[in-house]
Amino acid sequence: MTNGQDNLLPIANVGRIMKDGLPPQAKISKRAKETIQECATEFISFVTGEASERCRRERRKTVNGDDVCHAMRSLGLDHYADAMHRYLQRYREGEELAASLNSSSSAAAAAAAAGSRGGGAIQIDVRAELSIFRSGNNQGRPNN
């Protein structure tokens, strides 16, 4: 098990997700965590293999989110496909929001300059917008 750790999902993250799904009195053995760690890793490999094969047939070189959802459906994992399709849509909306806030940041700076000469209401609005920008920027992190 130790030798292959770099090729598995981290067991601490897996253990935390397992614990959150069970009642407080439940205990989980280390071997059970390791087994589900391996199962989750196999789940990723299994679905990715199907998604990649579809890309090959369609002569595309990049596996994207839609390919993953489609692969889940092809493999009979319909409720995962449905949930992930909805999740992907919300994720993409979040990315668009982050991008639009980024383009408006120069306008926010100008408004901040105006705010420093008075107009407390404007200053408050600028802060609200910046806090939304920070939240939106955070959503963009996965693309690094």
Binding site: G21, T35, E38, G49, T62, S131, S135, Q139, P142
Partner: protein, 125 residues
């Protein structure tokens, strides 16, 4: 003054909110995906246009991060049902194996959960 919210509503609640946007590390998911995507290449080696998909968009690991949360939670709940049937409170490896064997959807995991089960002296084959 209004405090900035750490995350948008998309991530509110559940494990995601506590460990950042994603409960599982995207870099590790991407590494696992790359290994698997490479396996499906018809043509080996770096060059040539005939190979399978070798590149992974930024959103694919994001999708898997959430999918794996759902998967781990579902498999754990089914294993817990087997634990309760045995009148125990500790989820054992054989409970996970029973959950996989009892769920057609998870047929692809049978080899994973039956490997080295001999160590546990169980009846599962």
């Amino acid at each position: 003054m209004r405090q900035a919210r750490p995350y948008s509503a998309m991530f509110a609640g559940g494990v995601s909110a506590r460990t950042g946007p994603h409960a599982l590390p995207l870099a590790r998911i991407k590494k696992i995906m790359k290994r698997s995507a490479g396996d499906s290449s018809v043509v080996d080696g770096g060059g040539g246009g005939g190979g399978g998909a070798r590149m992974i968009s930024g959103e694919a690991p994001v999708v898997f991060s959430k999918a794996c949360e759902l998967f781990i939670a579902e498999l754990t709940r089914r294993a817990w049902a087997a634990t309760l049937e045995g009148k125990r409170r500790t989820v054992h490896k054989e409970d996970v194996a029973a959950a996989v064997q009892n769920t057609d959807l998870f047929d692809f995991l049978v080899d994973v959960v039956t490997a080295d089960l001999g160590d546990d002296h169980t009846d599962y084959k």
